[in-house]
């Protein structure tokens, strides 16, 4: 199948109008020495039913959380996703439109993203937000770019998600920003770990909240420290659901928030559906990259929405733009907006509270297993580390046989955490049940005894 409407008659008439005798003639400007002289080496087209069958078969080679009980977090979280979200974003008015360049016929997307921006501001306690960037790690890189137009260093810590660190390094290389990485201290990043690296060249310090280990830092102290040194505080968050329980970073002095909104978008798909959320203060709004939707009026004075502050963007500013981003994660932002609105004020709290409750229950239960030890004793939200008496990969393999996805093995970060050997990062959200947790504990006990 090829989705082409043109009939032979259509083609004939069009060629006539153009005044050429064949479509081949339309490609005459392509130098023949570079023309492809053979057919593309791609399998012949299939019918719709055949593609569906083929891809169903392919998809069945995966095992998903509909059969596996997951205790994985570490940057990607399985929270409740209202079913109405998927159905609403499947309205073709939303998904087959593009960037709302023509405001008069894009009020649907524009209003939704304005609402999204407001939701983002509300959950982080910030003044303003943009319409999204690619993901949380890119949001963080963009945030660092915002904070380093005058200064050329940034300080992270090892308690930041290692994938984010990698992305930041990749971007900062181009920005010409030096990335300093402080070591976490007992799973936290207090002022003292940043202090030795602080200088007047530092544009911002970055803290993850909750951090990669699930622990919660003293944001206020870090903000004060950063500000006292003429730097900004950037708060990175990889699970927005935490904002149902933790104080909003904006209230604690954060200057920029860079977050991964995936938890609110849809089911995890190996990679994605990612959503880079960015929020900042009024002061920094003109440095914010990417699309921003504003409210205005139409020529009749009725309220209306429109892409605004476009003078920051690449299509106008070109090499002087605040970022090179063009298309963002529009539909994912819409999905997150609908999720946030569906959760509402109460729902977000309930989600976070139950996640924390269940995670703490799980933590306590796991610690009853002989051989399992706590790693840090910092306050945590819904993720925590445990030390196992056996190789984590081996244990996880055994758990998989029981239909359980065990906690993330920190070894996967290839020596990034040499101090954290045989350590697993467990995540327990509101979707886990007591019986699933008890089953995990039970099975893990058996495996460790075995």
């Amino acid at each position: 199948m090829n989705y082409l409407p043109a009939t032979d008659q259509d083609i004939k008439e069009m060629l006539e109008k153009i005044g050429v005798s064949s479509t081949e003639e339309l490609f005459k400007h392509v130098p023949s020495e570079v023309r492809l002289k053979r057919p593309l080496n791609i399998h012949a087209g299939l019918s719709e039913y055949e593609v569906l069958r083929k891809m169903t078969t392919l998809s069945k080679k995966n095992k998903t959380t509909s059969e596996l009980v997951s205790f994985l977090g570490a940057g990607a979280y399985q929270h409740y996703q209202p079913l109405l979200v998927g159905q609403l974003i499947s309205r073709s008015e939303f998904f087959t439109a593009y960037t709302p360049y023509q405001a008069e016929i894009s009020q649907g997307t524009l209003q939704a993203i304005y609402e999204y921006q407001t939701c983002v501001c509300e959950i982080f306690g910030m003044d303003v937000a943009n319409a999204s960037v690619y993901d949380g790690s890119v949001a963080l890189a963009e945030a660092i770019n915002m904070a380093t137009d005058k200064k050329h260093e940034v300080i992270l810590t090892t308690a930041l998600n290692p994938e984010y660190t990698k992305v930041v390094e990749t971007y900062c290389h181009g920005y010409g920003v030096k990335v300093n990485i402080a070591k976490h201290k007992n799973g936290l990043s207090p002022v003292e770990v940043y202090e030795p690296l602080m200088s007047k060249n530092v544009g911002a310090i970055v803290v993850q909240y909750p951090n990669f280990f699930g622990n919660i830092d003293d944001i206020k102290a870090l903000a004060d420290f950063a500000h006292a040194n003429g730097a900004l505080l950037i708060v990175a968050t990889s699970d927005v659901a935490a904002m149902g329980l933790l104080e909003a970073p904006g209230k604690l002095g954060a200057d920029i928030v860079a977050a991964e909104g995936m938890s609110f978008v849809g089911p995890l798909q190996l990679s994605g559906p990612s959503l880079g959320m960015m929020a900042t203060t009024n002061k920094l709004v003109r440095k914010l990259p990417g699309r921003i939707i504003g409210k205005t009026i139409d020529s009749s004075g009725n309220p209306a929405f429109v892409l605004t502050l476009q003078a920051r963007e690449q299509h106008i500013r070109r090499e002087k733009a605040s970022s090179n981003i063009c298309s963002n994660q529009g539909l994912n932002a819409l999905a997150a907006c609908i999720t946030m609105v569906t959760l509402g004020k109460q729902g977000l709290q309930v989600m976070a509270e139950r996640s924390a409750q269940k995670a703490h229950y799980c933590y306590q239960q796991l610690l009853t297993i002989p051989g399992i030890e706590p790693v840090f004793d910092a306050p945590f939200f819904d993720e925590f580390l445990i030390k196992l008496p056996k190789d984590v990969s081996y244990v996880n393999k055994c758990l998989l046989d029981e239909g359980i996805l065990g906690g993330c093995c920190l070894d996967r970060f290839l020596g990034y955490y040499p101090e954290l050997d045989n350590v697993a990062l467990y995540c327990v959200t509101e979707l886990r049940t007591k019986s699933e947790i008890d089953n995990l504990v039970n099975k893990l006990g058996v495996i460790l005894r075995g």
Binding site: M1, Y3, V30, V34, R35, P39, L40, I42, G45, V51, M55, L58, S66, Q78, Y80, L88, F95, Y98, T99, P100, Q102, E104, I105, Q107, G108, Y114, Q117, T118, C119, Y134, S137, V138, N145, E163, Y164, K166, V167, T170, G174, E247, P267, S274, K295, D298, S299, L307, Q314, H315, R317, R318, E319, S327, G330, L331, G344, K345, K358, K397, L400, L431
Partner: protein, 491 residues
């Protein structure tokens, strides 16, 4: 064709909030209550001010506002450079298959073989289509692909100790993301003027070519919809001074199966799957911007690579890549977009892809032939998949491209891309794509001709358009001057 009907003035959802309403529904906490006092110092003093709405009202709100969007499914959307082709329903169905959803990025490789195989195969197909050797699927959009590509080139030069290469050449017809990307990657942008016809000026290029050139970024067909016929020479000139060629693949819909960037001499290429490969634009993403490279650049690709182990007959993710540029984002790309593109390629097959380009180019040339009878077409002759006209012939009426664009709305069509590329005054860029029928184009042409007539007989109606849309003409100056980018309670 288009007329008036019922719409809703739908308030901002925060204004509909009623304390105590709820749409959410969460499993109870069935675990024994835990002591969370350790969290007490960190607790939120005030809950996030999200609106409180019933489930029905959530559905109604977004359903209602959705109807104020124009979309491909609603009508013809000839937005140049964006390839607003039909988004097949097959692709939506496969993206929602159970087996592709509910997969944690860190779950064991053995449990994600289906998704990995899909990505591996997709990368292979894209390599074949572009004439490249390797493809990474990590970038999330075109501009992200550009950055990835330019950083690949950077990593290559750095690896060679070729640190003086600070210059990226970009024609003034290039898309804004090209210079922005080069700058973000730390390069100096060297803009070269195009010829009056809109092509790369070989003279200008020659002047630019020296041993500080890292790369040239080109779109071909260019942003005027014309094929750079001197491409072989251009490639030679840049390669000769040690620079690499970057291909902005936004316009690949013109050339599939006819000519491949790799064969034209490009070293790096990005594709926009949300353009050429029919994945939906989603109101502005998510897209995907896979990047293809010639073999010598493979070591620099972002991590992880998706690899196949012949022995175990299984796919895996390779993180051990010492020369890698690093990472463009977490995990492996916008998977949901990749699934759709894969389905599209499977449905069309090699021949179908070529057909698609063939008819995209035919449709564009047909429209150009018709429209240039009543609007000015600065580029004479055959175009590729898109073309540019402007209202130079209507200057006396004081009608601008933006007016004509807004007036098009009144007839139920989406306007073309306007004021891009910057080098054509008052540009209107039309890209019909191959999935539109001749009748649709004919009706659109008829409408446009009628608007051009109006410009002479009743220019006021054009200058004050739209008159038929959910809102009247937007005041975007006010939007910038009185910045209001979030709802606030006090409002």
């Amino acid at each position: 064709m288009a007329k008036q009907g019922l719409y809703y003035d739908e308030p901002i959802i925060f204004e509909k909030s009623i304390p105590g309403r709820k749409a959410y529904s969460l499993p109870q906490n069935d675990c024994p209550a835990q002591d969370l006092s350790s969290l007490a110092p960190y607790r939120r003093k005030e809950a996030a001010g999200l609106p409180e709405i019933s489930e029905l009202e959530v559905v109604r709100h977004f359903t209602r506002i959705s109807t104020k969007n124009f979309s491909v499914d609603a009508g013809f959307y000839p937005l140049g450079s964006c390839t607003m082709k039909y988004n097949p329903r097959l692709n939506e169905a496969v993206a929602k298959l159970d087996g592709f959803n509910g997969i944690h990025p860190y779950q064991p490789i053995s449990t994600m073989q289906g998704s990995l195989e899909l990505m591996f195969e997709l990368a292979k197909d894209l390599a074949e289509i572009t004439g490249m050797d390797e493809v990474t699927l990590q970038p999330a959009a075109g501009a992200h692909g550009e950055l990835c590509g330019i950083k690949l080139i950077q990593a290559f030069h750095e690896k060679n100790g070729d640190t003086k290469r600070k210059k990226v050449i970009i024609p003034d017809s290039g898309h804004g993301t090209n210079p922005a990307t080069a700058a973000v990657a730390g390069f100096e942008v060297y803009q070269i003027k195009s010829t009056p016809e809109g092509f790369v000026d070989l003279e200008e290029l020659k002047n630019a070519c020296d041993d500080t050139v890292a790369a040239i970024m080109l779109t071909n067909p260019n942003t005027l919809g014309m094929f750079e016929k001197d491409i072989v020479e251009i490639a030679k000139m840049v390669h000769d001074v040690g620079g690499l060629l970057y291909y902005d693949g936004a316009n690949t819909n013109a050339i599939m199966g006819y000519v491949r960037p790799g064969d034209m001499g490009f070293d790096v290429v990005h594709l926009n799957l949300h353009k050429t490969f029919a994945t939906p634009h989603g109101g502005g993403g998510p897209g995907a911007g896979p990047v293809g490279v010639k073999a010598f650049l493979k070591p620099f690709l972002p991590k992880p690579l998706i690899c196949y182990n012949e022995k175990t007959a299984s796919y895996y993710l390779e993180y051990d890549c010492p020369d890698s540029l690093g990472r463009m984002k977490t995990f492996c790309g916008n998977f949901a977009v990749l699934v759709r593109a894969y389905a599209y390629i499977r449905a069309l097959g090699g021949k179908g892809l070529k057909n698609a380009s063939e008819l995209a180019v035919l449709n564009a040339n047909y429209m150009k032939s018709c429209i240039s009878e009543f609007l000015n077409a600065p580029q004479a002759g055959t175009c590729m998949h898109e073309f540019i006209v402007n209202p130079a012939n209507l200057k006396d009426q004081g009608v601008h491209t933006s007016d004509i664009a807004k007036r098009i709305i009144d007839f139920g069509y989406h306007p073309p891309t306007i004021y891009f590329p910057l080098i054509v005054e008052e540009a209107m860029m039309f890209e019909p794509t191959e999935t539109e029928s001749k009748e649709t184009m004919d009706d659109f042409i008829r409408v446009l001709a009628a608007i051009v007539d109006e410009c002479r007989t009743n220019p006021e109606i054009v200058k004050t358009a739209p008159h038929n849309a959910p809102i009247d003409r937007i005041d975007d100056v006010k939007a910038c001057r009185e910045l209001n980018i979030r709802w606030e309670k006090t409002e």
